[in-house]
Point group: C2
Chain length 220, copies 2
């Protein structure tokens, strides 16, 4: 899991020193969102307050933010607007990303209609399905395209993120094709583990796994 290592020590990305632990990275989006929950009048925010909104320990917040090189002010806290920018920058949210959704079934359609998508610079640039009956249908304002055009369209539209919303059986093949087409970030909603080459990052979102973890605890 997790391949980090910025190859060139000094040049990786402006102002981020060294690497950021994976556990920290997974909390940064939560902090970023939490800032949005503050009253707009508030300029400054303590680690304690951020922690309570984000649902973590305040020492965790301070340590996490210290990895960004973000400096708060002792005795005061973090400057909200600055911190927001630092987080956006660290997460790479200063540019936009073109996303492809593969699978125009219930889930794929729901995702492409998801409003919160645009707000952080993600844009759905294409939605694919291999069912000819679905091709051409309008979903979330886009016409469904045939899966056979995947490689071509990914290249044309500069798509760098693929969201797999197919049945489990198709997930691996779709991942292979996305990878070959140059996509290096995949979000997999299919209930299957997919295997990819080094340098491609996959994250899995799996309803039945989550439900089963809940039942494990419930049963105690």
């Amino acid at each position: 899991m997790a391949l980090f290592r910025a190859p060139r020590p000094g040049l990786s990305s402006p102002s981020v020193k060294g690497d950021i632990p994976a556990a920290t990275v997974s909390r940064l989006p939560v902090y970023l969102r939490s800032l949005g929950d503050l009253p707009p009048s508030q300029d400054t925010c303590s680690s304690e307050q951020l922690a309570s909104i984000a649902g973590v320990n305040s020492a965790q917040v301070r340590k996490d933010l210290s990895h960004l090189g973000s400096y708060g002010t002792r005795g005061v806290g973090y400057h909200v607007a600055d911190l927001r920018e630092q987080l956006r920058h660290a997460l790479g949210l200063t540019r936009g990303y073109a996303v492809a959704i593969i699978g125009a079934g219930n889930l794929g359609s729901a995702l492409s209609n998801y409003a919160g998508f645009g707000s952080w610079g993600f844009g759905v640039a294409a939605i694919f399905d291999n069912d000819p009956a679905r091709v051409g249908e309008l979903v979330g304002g886009l016409a469904v395209e045939p899966l056979s055009h995947l490689e071509e369209i990914v290249a044309e539209r500069g798509i760098t993120i693929g969201i797999i919303a197919t049945p489990a059986g198709a997930a691996q093949e779709v991942a292979d094709r996305l990878t070959k087409a140059g996509v290096r970030s995949i979000l997999n909603f299919a209930p299957a583990v997919i295997h990819v080459t080094d340098g491609v990052e996959v994250r899995r979102v799996d309803l039945s796994t989550e439900l089963q973890i809940l039942t494990f605890h419930q049963q105690r």
Copy 2:
């Protein structure tokens, strides 16, 4: 996060000795699914093979399974059918669970249509929305019910799992009501951190967090 501690050391649950680490619990569903990917002719399965399907290290598989008290056979491997039963049992999948979905928007509708739901004993027993225009609409074979009936219906139908598919702003209130109605397992799809009392387990599934983690890595 994670509150474990089976109160009575010896009596927690049949054949599970002590507690199972959270990290292990989160992989058990993956192993269970992986067993389904084996050729049906195969009776027995090595940790190596399971590991490669599940995408983890084989020592991990052996250690994880050893927590179940599940005994494989040295020199041979694990008996597939037995292991499947052990996993189902450990995860509490030997009984059914009634689930409520709150929010009948795109996501809620997609979830209630999700076929893979039933296969592990989960049944959608109700779907709620607070938009009067939606109440009565059929979604995944169920009529949408008004949110005001939540408590009553949860009790009547023995619902123990709540899936929050509302906008962020409504999530905390819905969680509070679910909790008061006695639901102790919540799967939260809303982009918000929700706070609950001890003894209630919440798992968060968050599209924008996942996308932002991907962009972090992509940007290196």
